[in-house]
């Protein structure tokens, strides 16, 4: 084995021509695995000391909250009272009691609708951008940067900017669609238009998927493309017969991560539907923009029902796990 690769199996014996003490191989992936016991003990102490801050953080702000959330989901609780064990009551009430939680299923519906529209729209926009960028050399960096800008924009700013763009009277969107003869719309105040309007913002922010698609496209060997051209395949045929199948793993990855993110959308809808003075956030006209996590947030921090909010968060967790598992099963079946 080449001693410069530095990647032999952990702790493996490495023969070497260099004259060094026999019990000390020159190239191990983790230097110090075979050091003297005293040193090894010191190493262990060092390692634990280095990990300690991160580990404390992990226990206090990740592990404990996750377990606590599960426990609280079985209690009646707000931040000031002691949690009162109620068993599965929160879950049962959320799912079946539409007097106590009148908008729970509405929020489920909104999030599912948003996911079903926003994710494919985002992927299509991203793929189109990536395909175009992949055919050019000159100016590609500039275009890529411009198309990526919406990704790094704070959601508070995104919400503010798009509320202004969607303004029914003075907004730019209505002017632009007016140019092609579509009548003015009151986008964020018409229940049927809220989800499409939000999905368009999601597609506007498709830069991350675009970069990943671009990497996927670069991974398609040019010999395949050249061969297809020689065989007389046109661009449309090449797209459906080569590009789409070769990008399937990328599309799968982006779909899974996109669905998980879309189900959790919160900050943007919070900003978009919290304007208009100090009126409380209600999730848009007729709750048409009341996403699942916005609903959860309202119960946790407006209506002081932390126990129920935790139950909602676990329903979401389980739902996300099921969807992820299904998607992976689907891809495995297809692969075999």
């Amino acid at each position: 084995m080449d001693r410069l690769t530095g990647s032999p199996p952990a702790g493996g014996e490495i023969t070497t021509a260099t004259p060094v003490p026999v019990d000390r191989p020159t190239a191990t992936p983790e230097p110090g695995r075979r050091r003297r016991p005293g040193v090894r003990w010191r190493d262990r102490v060092t390692a634990w000391l280095l990990i300690a801050p991160a580990l404390v953080y992990f226990v206090v702000f990740l592990l404990y909250p996750a377990l606590a959330a599960l426990y609280y989901s079985f209690t009646d609780w707000n931040l000031r009272t002691t949690p009162d064990w109620v068993g599965f009551a929160n879950y049962a009430d959320l799912l079946f009691d539409d007097v106590k939680y009148p908008h729970f299923w509405q929020s489920v519906r909104v999030s599912l609708q948003y996911t079903i529209i926003a994710v494919p729209l985002t992927l299509m926009a991203a793929l189109a951008q990536a395909l175009l960028l992949n055919t050019i050399r000159r100016g590609a960096n500039v275009f890529r940067l411009l198309l990526f800008l919406p990704v790094v924009t704070a959601e508070a700013a995104v919400g503010a900017i798009w509320r202004w763009l969607y303004d029914p009277q003075y907004g730019l969107i209505n002017t632009v669609i007016g140019l092609v003869g579509i009548p003015r719309q009151n986008w964020l105040n018409t229940p049927e238009l809220v989800i499409p309007a939000l999905s368009f913002i999601a597609a506007w922010q498709c830069g991350i998927s675009m970069i990943i698609y671009l990497a996927g496209l670069k991974g398609i060997p040019s010999s395949i493309r050249e061969a297809a051209i020689v065989d007389g395949a046109g661009p449309v045929q090449r797209f459906w017969r080569i590009v789409v199948p070769m990008l399937r793993p990328t599309t799968f990855y982006l779909t899974v991560t996109g669905v998980i993110a879309a189900l959790q959308v919160f900050g943007l809808v919070y900003v978009i539907f919290s304007g208009g003075g100090n009126r409380s956030v209600t999730g848009g006209p007729e709750q048409s923009g009341l996403t699942y996590v916005l609903h959860l947030y309202l119960y946790a921090f407006r209506y002081d029902a932390m126990g129920a909010a935790c139950a909602m968060s676990f329903i979401l967790l389980v739902f996300i796990m099921i969807i992820t598992a299904l998607q992976f099963k689907f891809i495995k079946q297809e692969a075999s």
Binding site: P31, R44, L50, I136, L149, G159, G207, E226, T257, L316
Partner: protein
């Protein structure tokens, strides 16, 4: 017809039949249109933020700060002055700068040290422990939100600057990325240093850190962008307007001044411009870094 030696590529080129410049024209047209969709919202934001209040609400939207009557170029800074002082965005801007200045380096240090131990120092149970950490990454942030607030309260950090920093001071995702990179570094230098009697910390600072500058830069900048933009955590942990970070103050401004788009757009510009500058400076590496890790912690 060309000579006998006509290659496959040559034939392919003829199959396309059209010169490259002409063939690429529609591609560039499409890209320009898409880039406009991407950028015009920002230009509209900037234009509005520089307009006098009386020039904002016009029948035909104006993409430049022009006087509505005379049509003359008449930008103004008064919206910025207003939101920075009366709107409280000046204070919020400084708060955000402070939080990022403290949080980002401390977090990077904690994550890098842990990643170094996980990647390079063998100890019993190490890899199992790391798997547990990774499993913790799968839990959605929203599930953790309520108990985290409770923990923050119990620690006496609710509604304080510490409450913005401590609950965000490490990131499993960053530890994971740094560990991957550290594991890919060759072991010889370290081994030689160990034989020469160097300590682990010396090795970390003298060997690992200099070799890892690219990945450290990516983690630093994505972490900065994330915390500069973060709305949700400050929203739930802060009550005191004096402590508001920029996104939170902007959100507040947008709901109290909802009839005055010029103020809101000036505030949005203050939040957006620093990040755009950072992105322009570090362009490519950062875009790829963000693309493959997601903008989250």
């Amino acid at each position: 017809m060309t000579s006998v030696g006509s290659s496959q590529a040559g034939r392919a080129r003829r199959a396309r039949g059209i010169p490259k410049q002409v063939r690429l024209t529609p591609v560039y047209v499409a890209l320009v249109l898409l880039a406009l969709v991407s950028v015009v919202p920002f230009l509209w934001m900037l234009a509005t933020s520089f307009k006098h209040g009386s020039d904002v609400y016009t029948k035909v939207p104006n993409l430049l700060p022009m006087d509505r009557k005379t049509g003359e170029w008449s930008p103004t800074l008064e919206n910025y002055e207003h939101v920075l002082q009366l709107g409280g965005l000046g204070r919020a801007f400084l708060n955000s700068v402070w939080v990022c200045l403290v949080l980002v380096p401390v977090k990077l240090l904690i994550d890098a040290l842990a990643a170094y131990a996980f990647a390079r120092i063998p100890f019993p149970g190490r890899d199992k422990l790391f798997v547990v950490l990774l499993a913790g990454m799968m839990v959605p942030t929203i599930t953790l939100l309520v108990p985290r607030i409770h923990v923050t309260q119990e620690l006496g950090m609710f509604d304080s600057g510490w409450g913005l920093i401590i609950p965000n001071v490490a990131s499993v995702l960053d530890i994971f990325l740094l560990r991957q990179f550290f594991m890919s570094l060759p072991g010889e230098l370290e081994e030689a240093a160990l034989i020469d009697g160097a300590g682990r910390m010396q090795i970390f600072w003298r060997i690992i850190v200099p070799l890892s500058k690219p990945v450290l830069a990516v983690v630093t900048i994505t972490s900065f962008i994330f915390h500069w933009n973060d709305l949700v955590w400050p929203l739930v942990v802060l009550n005191d307007p004096e402590l508001y970070t920029l996104p939170l103050a902007l959100q507040q401004l947008a709901s109290t001044e909802s009839g005055r788009a010029y103020y809101i757009m000036a505030g949005a510009a203050l939040a957006v411009i620093p990040v755009i500058i950072v992105l322009m400076i570090f362009q490519r590496r950062i875009m790829e870094g963000i693309a493959f890790t997601g903008l989250k912690t």
